[in-house]
């Protein structure tokens, strides 16, 4: 036994030594020094062959074979790792197979020939029973492969597929981060899995790396969504039926549903270019929706090519393509038919419904449209066209009316300005400021179709107020009996602050404009007086005035009264550092949460408040309840007006809000009253 072990061991060492030769052999398979290498190899084969034969004659046949097999496998494993490595941008399966042909199979051929096992004349004529038999396989330098050699090839290739598959599965997270650059690695993996059938290994391993690497508090919602989209795109190559994708996507979706900004991020990703999100992946300048549309157009054009052929032929092709779902398929999810994997559908799946997606988009659209200086809505029209294609016409009708309002406004605005003679304007010199109708444009909205817009009181400067009056009068004349109702706190103002030594331009909201214009007449105001003059509540004023303080235009100090502040203009400012400060885009950065359009959550919150008492009552009675039980109970009992019509996701987001307010808590998927 000792002796055998020694021999086996020695064989390993020999093999390591000869590995170099074998690799040279690979490099120069077609080279001029092939003869020399064959001679060397022959010498090696003879040595090993002699040992093998001796051991066989002692009765250690299988042990001997195990020894050289394990040496070959470990060599192959090293080769696979070496060829594949961490480079996901090249196909490697082909070169691995070439290497198997060129090196270990050559060696085995020679060894088997030396041992006299190789001459199996029937093997070619009788046809091999192995699946490889039908494959056109080429054995360089070997005319008639023996059955033993073909079996070896199968073993080696299976081992290579499995090794590469395990290697790629272990790095699948990185590969998907790299997608689409890593497309070749995905293709290799697909081939490996088709051969080994070990898809469930992929699912388990990938889910655990998702939980460990991605679904953590540190990852931004955009990053998670990007990885989700890349996962969908990459896995649908491996698994066109979507069964494994379903399993892998579930934890991501579950996790995202617990985040408050998920819907907003999804809508931004879908409708904005990469400028809208910090990760900025994907094609430059394209929204996800644009990209999906391009994909589906490509898809359709290939489908169309098929359709040129007769329907019968198409039916035959479809029938041929049919495959049963893999055994891992959950019969409750998805059909047995091959369905197209729809990225948008999988995004909507996170949100809950198309309606919620559209609601969120409508709020974002309103915000965008109300902050426009010009009436340029080309990109919004394009986005809406894409949404229409994917979500259907009826769901986006309100958005269409909003865009139509902008188009109408542009026309009406031009009519009104053309028909009002400039010099006859009364009161244009009020407040010491020259203003003519030139500076005024208006967006006129059909408010029934817009999201709720927060009404805020505001006294705008008298000169502008007069312009608004003239404008509204003219509108009424043109569009009798329609009337205009100004929403004075909304809109955008471009103004120039003129100091003795410098001018500064800002783009601000009407509230900011009204505040700063008060400082023309009087250089210092208490917050109470300024609030009264501008018609803004004091606390709002104190918040909004921070904009001017942050720009170094105003300075704030404590007043005589502890809750009163004094604001003074910083007139002879020597701190020149602020002068060249660009003011474009300030509006967006200005005071998060100071939005004029009520967010979807705010609206939902308002609508759900009716049920809050009911939920608290239920939890008092039952102690704890799971989400779907609360949902079903509300559905059952809240049938009178207002009847409960919210989705599970909406309820969940409302309950998450109650947890934030510390009214509820959640443990093990159950909601409790916070004590």
């Amino acid at each position: 036994m000792d002796e055998d072990y020694e021999d086996g061991h020695r064989f390993h060492i020999d093999d390591q030594k000869n590995k170099r030769n074998l690799e040279i052999g690979e490099m120069d398979v077609d080279g001029s020094n092939r003869e020399t290498i064959f001679l060397k190899n022959n010498y090696l084969v003879k040595n090993i062959g002699a040992v093998v034969r001796d051991l066989r004659s002692l009765g250690f046949t299988s042990m001997t074979e195990d020894a050289y097999a394990s040496a070959i496998f470990s060599l192959l494993k090293a080769k696979v790792h070496n060829l594949a490595g961490d480079d996901y941008r090249a196909l490697v399966l082909g070169s691995i197979k070439d290497w198997i042909q060129a090196v270990p199979l050559q060696f085995l051929h020679a060894l088997l020939a030396y041992l006299g096992d190789s001459f199996d004349c029937d093997s070619m004529s009788s046809g091999l029973k192995s699946p490889l038999a039908s494959r056109p396989s080429c054995y360089p330098g070997i005319d008639f492969p023996s059955e033993g050699l073909v079996r070896w090839q199968l073993r080696l290739e299976y081992f290579a597929y499995e090794t590469l598959q395990d290697l790629r599965i272990g790095k699948l997270f990185e590969i998907i981060v790299d997608y689409p650059d890593s497309y070749p690695a995905i293709q290799d993996l697909k081939q490996c899995l088709e051969y080994t059938g070990q898809h469930s290994k992929l699912v388990d391993s990938f889910i655990s790396s998702l939980r460990y690497r991605l679904l953590t508090a540190g990852a931004s919602t955009y990053d998670i969504l990007h990885q989700y989209v890349s996962t969908i795109k990459a896995l649908r190559i491996i698994d066109p039926t979507g069964v494994f994708l379903e399993a892998v996507g579930e934890p991501i979706r579950d996790y995202l549903r617990g985040r408050k900004d998920t819907i907003k991020c999804i809508v931004t990703m879908l409708t904005d270019g990469p400028g809208g999100n910090p990760s900025g992946l994907g094609n430059a300048g394209d929204s996800l929706l644009e990209e999906l549309n391009r994909d589906s157009e490509n898809q359709e054009s290939t489908d169309y090519d098929d359709d040129i052929n007769s329907d019968d032929k198409q039916a035959w092709i479809n029938a041929e393509r049919w495959e049963p779902d893999p055994v891992e398929a959950d019969p409750s999810k998805g059909s047995r038919n091959r369905r197209k994997i729809d990225v948008l559908g999988m995004m909507v799946n996170i949100i809950g419904s198309k309606d919620q997606l559209v609601n969120e988009y409508r709020v974002m659209l309103a915000e965008k449209l109300l902050n426009k200086f010009d009436y340029d809505i080309d990109s919004e029209i394009r986005t809406l066209e894409l949404l229409k294609i994917h979500l259907g016409e009826s769901s986006i009708q309100k958005c269409e009316i909003m865009l139509n309002d902008l188009i109408d406004s542009k026309r009406t605005n031009a009519n009104i300005k053309a028909s009002l003679p400039q010099p006859s304007l009364s009161g244009s010199k009020l407040g010491g400021t020259d203003v003519s109708l030139d500076i005024l444009d208006a967006t006129i909205i059909s408010s029934n179709f817009w999201p709720t817009i927060q009404a805020e009181s505001l006294n705008i400067p008298a000169s502008v107020d007069q312009l608004l009056c003239d404008y509204a009068k003219r509108f009424h004349e043109i569009k009798t009996p329609r009337k205009l109702l100004w929403k004075k706190n909304l809109g955008t103002v471009k103004l120039e602050l003129q100091f003795e030594d410098r001018n500064m331009q800002f783009t601000v909201t009407p509230v900011h404009a009204a505040i700063i214009m008060q400082f023309q007449e009087q250089t210092s105001w208490t917050s109470k007086n300024l609030a009264a003059a501008t018609g803004i509540p004091v606390d709002t004023l104190n918040r909004r005035i921070n904009f001017w303080i942050s720009k170094g235009i105003l300075a704030g100090s404590a007043g005589s009264d502890s809750d009163d502040h004094v604001f003074t203009i910083v007139d002879d400012m020597n701190t020149n550092g602020l002068i060249h400060e660009s003011s474009e885009g300030l509006l967006a950065a200005d005071e998060e949460g100071e939005r004029s359009v009520a967010s979807v959550e705010e609206q939902l919150r308002k609508e759900m408040t009716v049920y809050e008492k009911f939920i608290i009552g239920m939890l008092t009675n039952f102690g704890s309840m799971a989400l779907d039980r609360i949902h079903n109970t509300l559905k059952m009992f809240c049938v009178a007006e207002p009847s409960y019509d919210k989705s599970l996701q909406q309820l969940q987001s409302f309950l998450t809000g109650l947890i934030t307010e510390e009214k509820l808590e959640m443990r093990d998927g159950l909601y409790f009253l916070k004590k």
Partner: protein
């Protein structure tokens, strides 16, 4: 310091300024549009009768037509007050 306004882009909403919120025929908001229309405002105007009741133009036209076809000798009536329907000048 002086402030020069370079541009003021204001926002307003429009209204038909009708006495009621909704059209008595289709029950839709006056500032919305009738069920047959896609866009409110110019595309789906409001009209007033001599009786001072107002409706979407498209709604009252349909109503008047249906009345005419039912009883040919009878004059169409306002669906709200049953007085003879006449468009207000």
């Amino acid at each position: 310091m002086k402030v020069k306004i370079l541009q003021w882009h204001a926002v307003a909403s429009w209204t038909w300024d009708a006495q009621d919120e909704t059209c008595g025929i289709c029950r839709m908001a006056f500032d919305g549009c009738c069920p047959d229309c896609k866009f409110p405002g110019d595309d789906c105007p409001l009209v007033w009768g001599a009786c001072n009741h107002s409706f979407h133009l498209h709604c009252i036209l349909k109503w008047v037509n249906s009345q005419n076809s039912q009883a040919s000798q009878q004059q169409p009536q306002c669906p709200m007050c049953r007085r003879e329907w006449q468009f207000k000048a």
